[in-house]
């Protein structure tokens, strides 16, 4: 199990360079793909899912080349795109049966068992007879997730799985990934940093098609240790005078007042306090660094 991306470039017909010499590899756990809209996350996942052809470079899934061994790769992966195209008029069970048949699960007994297991894992058992069109967005997403794991893939690719979900549903989906990561490699694309923080064992940050960081989240956070500061805002609301190079990562309302949070190599003002870095700090910091400043 694992993916290996080497020197991957993708240039679309309209000359947009979606991926620019990307290198990364992962073998187990959850690989989080983080980046703003248009950074190339979906393109990278589409190539890995054999839906797009790379312009140059190679991508291997379990050692299989995405250019030459598409059918073999399709048998090993589960893919959940951002927008799910399910038959609205089929019931949940029929939908999963349909998808299981597309995964070449011919044996009815085996198919039934796998469907029931997927339903159980995603807490959908009581909804088997409901038509997909009657389900909420979160439940549809869970059905889509259930179909993606039917074939017990060695690589699960999920694109923005928590977008548009309510907090409860997001937590449920994240827990599911954390549990599933023991069985297969998950490539999880999102622009919600909290999702990555919760489950990712490795992290790739993309910006304008270029890889800005690849490594573990812990390593990234380590590199910011002692460089994240909290500054109390004066009661009047005016911003304090801060040193040059202070990169603001957020404003937080706390009982003591509003706190300004940011990254800086040295204390931005005398009463600034060091804070524990989080992935949001790291993400904003990575996004604003100049080109070529990849940490990994």
């Amino acid at each position: 199990m694992g993916i290996e991306v080497q020197d991957l470039c993708k240039v679309y017909d309209n000359r947009v360079r979606a991926l620019d010499h990307v290198h990364l590899e992962a073998e187990a756990g959850v690989l989080g793909l983080l980046g703003p809209n248009g950074s190339g996350k979906t393109t990278l996942m589409s190539i890995t899912a054999t839906l797009l052809e790379p312009t140059t470079g190679t991508v291997r899934v379990d050692g299989l080349d995405v250019r030459k061994q598409k059918p073999e790769i399709r048998r090993r992966i589960g893919y959940l795109p951002q927008d799910v195209g399910l038959y609205p008029n089929l019931t949940v069970y029929e939908t999963l049966d349909y998808m299981a048949l597309l995964y070449n699960l011919d044996d009815p007994k085996d198919r039934k068992q796998r469907i029931e297991r997927s339903l159980e894992r995603l807490n959908l058992t009581r909804l088997v007879d409901r038509q997909v069109q009657t389900l909420s967005g979160g439940l549809r997403q869970r059905v889509a997730l259930a179909q993606a794991v039917l074939s017990q893939p060695s690589l699960l690719i999920v694109d923005e799985p928590t977008a548009g979900l309510d907090p409860e549903e997001r937590i449920r989906v994240r827990s599911f990934f954390a549990d599933l990561a023991r069985e297969c490699l998950i490539v999880l694309s999102t622009h919600i940093v909290a999702d990555i923080e919760a489950v990712a064992s490795s992290l790739a940050v993309l910006r304008f098609g270029k890889l800005r960081y690849f490594g573990t989240p812990e390593k990234l956070l380590q590199s910011l240790q002692g460089r994240v500061w909290m500054v109390a805002m004066p009661p009047g609301g005016e911003r304090p005078q801060l040193g040059e190079g202070f990169l603001e990562t957020g404003l937080y309302r706390e009982p003591a007042g509003i706190q300004l949070r940011g990254v800086s190599d040295s204390a931005p003002c005398v009463d600034a306090q060091v804070a524990v870095p989080n992935l949001e700090d790291a993400y904003v910091w990575l996004m604003t660094r100049e080109e070529g400043a990849v940490v990994a």
């Binding site: 059918p71 399709r74 795109p81 195209g85 008029n89 048949l101 070449n104």
Partner: protein
């Protein structure tokens, strides 16, 4: 049940749960059933009309539906999940196509069933047989245009393929006088052409384009052979369809020209003809020497004219031993119409088909229409026993009393 059949079953179930399609099925079942009830015993002619309505109506609707369904999984986002599945491209295309076909054939079966039930009290099992034929003929049209629409849309990755199919079909219908009848997908005589064409786009899309796009093209020889084979079949079909046009070879060279060169004049001999009867035989005037002829020339799909056919049938039975012979001449561009009438009409007098019919609207264009100088259909020509024309009538319908009067007058003049 095999995997593919299960997939098709799921797809069909999903399709038939669509409220719009359900409504279409219900309305067409009831509507056609009521119309059939109103047309009583004329199952043969109603079946011809039903074929036209269903073939064209459902054909256009299905073509547009197929144009949409063909690209359902082509969208970069929503279709990606389906395209990432480990199913062979050709099989996937076939499954989607077969699912759509099953949905639409089932929907089309409903009005045929309605018609068969509606006419059963008046026409009995003739109704069942006629409307089964109507279903079969309309199904061939639907298969043809549905396949073209689906495969073209799939290859173009746009519903434009279906729109083009429908547009081209409308052009052939509207320009019927100028476009060779070979290009009409709903004409029975063109089945082989469109079967070949359908197979050609099917093979090209499923075995060629789809597999190539999905990176599954490993042995291109088989797809190439299939594409070339279907092209060859299309060529054979074209040659066959063109060969079936006016030149009917039955031992007499260019019979249609010879029919056309005649003229129907009062008091002169009725133009002779040599027309296929749809059962392997020929309908002629010559074998009825010494008989009074009632030659009824009509358009196959003319419901009003069709009301005269049972009347002529009764005349044939009543006056058979007194030397009175009705003969029907059916004008139809679609050869299948004449075939249906001959086989499913349930009439006991000879009905010939004018295969050289170019149009049946005013003024009709066909070998018989030219020979009999017909401006409006239907036409009833009554001859004496020497086959000299005595009456040329252009009423829309004829009652049994009126025809008995006409026949009685002739029998008074020529009892034997």
């Amino acid at each position: 049940m095999s995997r593919d059949l299960l997939l098709i079953r799921h797809g069909v179930v999903a399709g038939l749960r669509n409220p719009g399609l359900r409504l279409l099925g219900l309305v067409s079942f009831l509507g056609v059933g009521a119309a059939a009830w109103g047309h009583g015993a004329l199952a043969g002619t109603f079946s011809i009309q039903l074929t036209n309505w269903l073939g064209r109506g459902f054909g256009v609707a299905a073509a547009l539906w197929f144009a949409y369904s063909a690209i359902r999984d082509q969208d970069e986002r929503t279709g990606a999940m389906l395209r990432s599945k480990p199913v062979d491209g050709a099989r996937w295309v076939t499954l989607n196509w077969a699912t759509g076909m099953c949905v639409w054939l089932f929907l089309m079966l409903l009005p045929c069933l309605g018609a068969a039930i509606g006419q059963f009290p008046a026409a009995g099992f003739t109704s069942v047989a006629s409307h089964a034929v109507a279903f079969g003929r309309a199904a061939m049209t639907l298969l043809t245009v549905g396949t073209l629409s689906f495969m073209l849309s799939r290859m173009m990755r746009s519903p434009l393929g279906g729109v083009l199919t429908v547009f081209a079909w409308f052009c052939t219908m509207a320009g019927a006088r100028f476009v060779p009848t070979t290009f009409q997908p709903d004409f029975s005589q063109n089945r082989l052409v469109f079967l070949g064409l359908g197979l050609f786009v099917f093979a090209l899309c499923a075995l060629g384009v789809e597999r190539w796009r999905r990176g599954e093209m490993r042995q291109p020889a088989a797809p190439i052979a299939a594409v070339l084979g279907s092209l060859l079949l299309t060529g054979v079909g074209l040659a066959n369809a063109n060969g079936r046009q006016p030149n009917m070879t039955t031992g007499v060279s260019n019979i249609w020209d010879r029919i056309t060169l005649q003229h129907a004049r009062q008091g002169e001999r009725a133009p002779g003809f040599w027309l296929p009867d749809g059962r392997g035989g020929l309908v002629r005037t010559a074998p009825h020497a010494g008989k009074i002829l009632l030659i009824f020339i009509f358009a196959a799909d003319d419901m009003e004219a069709a009301q005269t056919l049972p009347v002529l049938d009764q005349i044939a039975r009543e006056y058979a031993d007194r030397g009175v012979q009705p003969i029907g001449v059916c004008l139809a561009q679609d050869h299948g119409d004449g075939w249906t009438l001959a086989r499913m009409g349930g009439y006991h007098f000879p009905i010939g088909m004018d295969l050289a019919t170019a149009k049946t609207s005013i003024p009709p264009e066909s070998a018989i229409a030219t020979a009999y100088d017909i401006q409006v259909l239907p036409r009833l020509v009554i001859t004496d026993r020497l086959h000299l024309i005595r009456e040329q009538l252009s009423e829309a319908t004829y009652s049994i009393e009126y025809l008995r009067q006409q026949v009685g007058r002739r029998l008074t003049e020529e009892p034997r």
